[in-house]
Symmetry: C2
Subunit: 339 residues, 2 copies
Amino acid sequence: MYQELVKRDDLDAVLIATPWNWHTPMALDSMRAGKYTGVEVPAAISMDECWALVNTHEETGVQCMMLENWSFRRDNLAILNMIRAGLLGEIMHAHCSYSHDCVGSYFFDGEGNPRWPGEFLVDNNRNQYPTHAQGPVLSWMDINCGDRYASLTAMATASKGINAYFARTKGPEHPTAKRPFKQGDVVTCLVRTQKGKTIVINCDMMLPRPYDNRWSVQGTLGIYNEQRNSVYIEGRSPQSHQWEPFDPYQTEFDHPWWTELEPEAAQAGHGGTDFVELKMFIKAVREKGPTPVDIYDSATMSSIIPLSEASIAQGGMPVECPDFTRGKWESTKPKFAVV
Amino acid sequence: MYQELVKRDDLDAVLIATPWNWHTPMALDSMRAGKYTGVEVPAAISMDECWALVNTHEETGVQCMMLENWSFRRDNLAILNMIRAGLLGEIMHAHCSYSHDCVGSYFFDGEGNPRWPGEFLVDNNRNQYPTHAQGPVLSWMDINCGDRYASLTAMATASKGINAYFARTKGPEHPTAKRPFKQGDVVTCLVRTQKGKTIVINCDMMLPRPYDNRWSVQGTLGIYNEQRNSVYIEGRSPQSHQWEPFDPYQTEFDHPWWTELEPEAAQAGHGGTDFVELKMFIKAVREKGPTPVDIYDSATMSSIIPLSEASIAQGGMPVECPDFTRGKWESTKPKFAVV
């Protein structure tokens, strides 16, 4: 029983990498056992779970961090440094996406039977996997430390991708080619913050396409576009209204977490990103300090799952985003990746 | 008086390139005078104007076309041919944008006084300029000829870009650096069609940035991404889930309107696009046939202006999109650029 495991005296921390519906229950038990808790994405899949994480953290005083690795990507951290240096001015808008064709590899087995993630596609129509998109955007926009998500609206396309995949690969009479799924192929969420920023969050996992995150962030002085690997910064970019390459900015604004990285670490998962993430988590455990991503950010990113489901079910009605910080967002200073 | 001008017997057609609020009134008079009418974008700026265009066209039987040139772009027409050849499968989702920093050049004069387009930014918060984004998407998605816009939700950022521009260029005490504007910097619309397709439409004209349209369209077999100038097509692209360059497809699926173009035409506005557009308009006038873009598409594209304003004013509430075809969308066959 994992409940016994998390109580062991010879453990300092617990990493949870189980099916989505086990993330919150196991994280609660881990926090209650006094263990630093790292939980895979998403930290929660319902609003009750989001609040349970926040409340249990506050009751126990134990740190819990969702392991959203794209917050630690080298390019995304350089952009964060540029934003904090004021290069983009006041941030107004961002776009982000998790665009990854996962029908044939992740959601279903070779016979067309849903694996555990695929089970969520039968009865739920929502942004199933919103945290990789949001990870860097949260810190780019000072969410929960100067601003907060205020409202969300969402729409989903019809559900065609799964049926089309199995009709194409197994024939039109295959059961999964005809089975109805609630999950739409592409879900688009539109979030507005308390201070008037907006974010487009796409989830696009059911159609054939290359992997993409499509990050873009813009402010009153400039813009970064990940697809173009380019920036434009008023008064600094050499040509008016012309993109310039991001690469020199990557060098100039590289984050110390990456410049101090041992060469061999770059061989680790996702080009070293997973190494940096776990290194900073373990540093927090060793120093008994706060984790780099806190429980409020973990709950906020995860809450897009139930919020999008509620909005889609009501034809795109705007739904209110809860303030997991209970007002602390106004006085909290940015702390992610501040060194 | 233009009312006398449009009645002249020696005119076959009228082109209207006036401030936005004159487009519909002049188009109505031109149709009533029996003249083929080409009207600059947007054709209308209110729902009443959209319906007046449709009703007057139906009452008079006179053709009226909004001059949306990006529908005629060489790349966009090649994509249309690819879609009609089935390469992308069933179309599910598109993204499009009009991203063009127009504060210093178009909306305001050198002293910071609003020019006529800038006057709309004082009291209106909406997608002010939605047609360049939508032009190609309408035909990619068979809007009004097999499908139709069903509902829309929209959000706008706060209004910071105009004040920031004039604070930067004229000093923080300049009146336009302090004047309040209702118009948000970036407006995002989310449209769902009757058949369950979705479209993200951005309008982004108030912040410093390079020009962009950010077209992307995807279906059950593949995706086109304009920013990457790339496609991925299942079963055809050489590497699974890897982009390949669009250029060979441009050659293979080039539209006859462009392959038959005289070399000198490519010197005309927007790389020949404006030439193709006007050539096809004039061809319709000479042959007394239908214009390439009809009044229903013109009204649909323009209606995003008042629809987005209504949704934004209600905090992103979904609003119903009118069916300007009054049910004819179900039986109408695609005709734009069919040769």
